[in-house]
Symmetry: C2
Subunit: 415 residues, 2 copies
């Protein structure tokens, strides 16, 4: 498609300029973009009102409408986000390894921008500014494809940022938005391999599946989290209740929320009635196997399907197990390789769990809600990777870079 081809060529032209910018030049541009967002708030809000009106008329749910809606405060937060990114350390240019070969070749492995990053996301206009900021600070050009329900908002935000960049003598094509919302265009974007180095979907399981199935560009899968907590026979039950309540209910619609609970059978009788009271108070629907239902009479029956479900709701599946090993096997079967925790005071059980569970983040005695770029101290995140290639878990600036080898010789040839 000519439209996408043109976008791709512009992104590539921009990436060669961006990769040469100094940290100070990038930070100045980020601060200028932040100021432009605040200055352009009315223009962005006007566009957002248009999106909101259409979405409301089309019967969008209250939850989605809330995600779509922008306010002066939310625009301020977007601007603040860009300023925070300006404060972060620049990963580009770091020498990761350096070694000299016996033949005299000096080899340096140096962190470089990825190049062109594609982001496909749903109707959350704040992602437009966030994704630009992170990609830009890591020296990348970004091509954005947002949800069609936020089309006007995304276009306004992108336009404001592009104008701010141009005013700083930085290529506006550092950020481009695909404004054609035809589904065929999105699918073609997933195959724009000659221009785009990595494609990151941000959104629900359906979006991610569509990208994985259609993309020829390397993909980083993010954000599906069927997270487990296993309460070991040697758990400190006073710690266990607050951790489980936090992981399940502190924020239900997020990928690091707990969806499934395993309880060692030896402590089930003592623990489950107490936990049941706490969950009931938070209005969490409990779904358990037979032994759980024996101890929590109002728990519903859990099916095999429940164990594999990311509810993103006030629902928790529950099951008793007879050992750490059984817990590990169950978790590795049903989890999404995101975040899982063991609650135990037994160090040996903890180590077996840490080693055995195949997830990006494995916890001992803490809430799974900590799987987050800010909580990890990365300062920001573009998403939580649930695949093993390239990056796993929270992805910060470093994960938006690649590396290259610089090899300096003096006439070496291979024998």
């Amino acid at each position: 498609m000519e439209y996408l081809d043109n976008l791709g060529q512009k992104a590539v032209a921009a990436k060669y300029v961006l990769q040469k910018l100094t940290t100070e030049e990038k930070n100045r541009a980020l601060r200028a973009a932040a100021a432009a967002l605040t200055d352009g708030a009315e223009r962005i809000l006007e566009a957002n009102r248009q999106d909101y009106g259409t979405a409301e008329a089309n019967g969008m749910s209250a939850g989605l409408l809330d995600r779509l809606k922008l306010t002066a405060q939310r625009i301020h937060s977007m601007a603040e986000g860009l300023r925070q990114i300006a404060e972060l350390e620049d990963p580009v240019g770091t020498v990761m390894e350096s070694f000299k070969r016996p033949n005299g070749l000096q080899i340096d492995k140096v962190r470089v921008p990825m190049g062109v990053i594609g982001i496909i996301y749903e109707a959350r206009p704040n992602v437009t500014a966030d994704a630009f900021g992170l990609c830009f600070k890591a020296g990348n050009a970004v091509i954005l494809k947002g949800g069609r329900d936020a089309a006007c908002s995304n276009a306004a935000i992108t336009q404001v940022i592009r104008e701010a960049l141009a005013a700083q003598d930085i290529p506006a094509d550092a950020v481009q938005l695909i404004e054609d919302n035809d589904r065929a265009v999105t699918t073609a974007f997933m195959k724009l391999k000659q221009y785009v180095d990595v494609l990151i979907p941000r959104g629900g399981a359906g979006l991610i599946r569509a990208v994985v199935e259609n993309s020829t560009i390397p993909v980083i899968e993010t954000g599906t989290g069927n997270c487990h907590i296993y309460v070991d026979e040697d758990a400190d039950l006073d710690k266990a209740v607050p951790i489980i309540i936090n992981a399940k209910t502190q924020r239900i619609g997020v990928c690091n929320a707990c969806e499934s609970l395993l309880i060692h059978e030896k402590i089930a009788e003592k623990f489950l009635p107490v936990l049941g009271d706490a969950l009931r108070e938070k209005k969490v629907e409990m779904r358990g196997d037979e032994s759980v239902r024996g101890l929590i009479p109002d728990a519903l029956e859990a099916t095999q399907e429940d164990y594999g479900t990311e509810y993103l709701d006030y629902i928790l599946s529950m099951k008793t197990v007879s050992s750490v090993e059984e817990a590990i096997v169950h978790i590795n079967r049903y989890n999404t390789k995101h975040s899982d925790a063991i609650l135990t005071e037994n160090e040996e059980h903890a180590e077996r769990f840490l080693q055995g569970v195949d997830s990006a983040c494995v916890y001992v005695n803490a809430s799974t809600r900590f799987t987050d770029g800010f909580e990890f101290g990365f300062g920001a995140e573009i998403g939580i990777s649930t695949q093993k290639l390239h990056a796993r878990g929270p992805m910060g600036l470093k994960e938006l870079t690649a590396y290259k080898y610089l090899i300096r010789g003096n006439g070496q040839i291979r024998e």
Copy 2:
């Protein structure tokens, strides 16, 4: 497909055992597999004779027949390769980063096996043992799909290794071979995402394209190399001739061979006639632009298509340019992001080239032929990555691993 589903399940069962093996257990198994290859040489040679006979009857070219053919010496080399892998440092378990958060959470980023690796390759039976050895040492189960012309050889090698592993009480399913050579099975293998963590194609451009287009498993692209050498106006011409001859002719069928030459116009008149003599002596066909042909009368005309072609043959495309910048722009347009070199004594030109060329390996004053796991000191390689995600350039054991975060707390919950 039930057949593949079964293979996938067995690989996953094996991976959980492999990830717990100690370095010594893995090394012992590698040495046992090496001994088994030598002991089983006659069985493997018999199978290979069958493949060779069929391929010869089907009119396979001499070059491909040579790649297919096994000898006692080649089996010895395969065994030696496994012993060398046993000597390499085990990447698994390394703590890559370790930090404590203000809330007391201790976060360790630890190198772990990737899990299950799929390798799709052509009719080179030695890859069967090599790929097993590298994947195994990094703690991974591997599923192999070799070229159908080497089906009997691959089956014999795999069987010998599996028996050796079983005798060491290690799951034989650490290595499995897809023995159904139906093309539909190979395509289905590329979508075995629920079991396979990464897919690595090893072979020609056609194979790699097919994998990239069909796979839903994350892919690491390897091995296409349209490598350039740029002879700067400040090149030392005495170094330049041997480097170009080495990069072009030392081995023509490999991905790190030089395919295209750029020459600064200021030194063309002095350099090209000398270089032309050297290339002519090596029977390299020269294809140049008008200014090249003016200085090397027997050079043929180079088309745009030539500049984008990986010949893997005694052919070299040639073009004059007027600056380092023009060289960089040309290279970034036509290269495959593999390996490119500048020959210059001018440090500033060298730095601009190192920074500007978008390749896995960028050289100053050395042959591109050094892009190789052994030459880099990795001890072995599974291939040369030409993509930016996860690994770039020569891929050794470390590149066959992932990481996970282990987070140890004491009751932390998120506010």
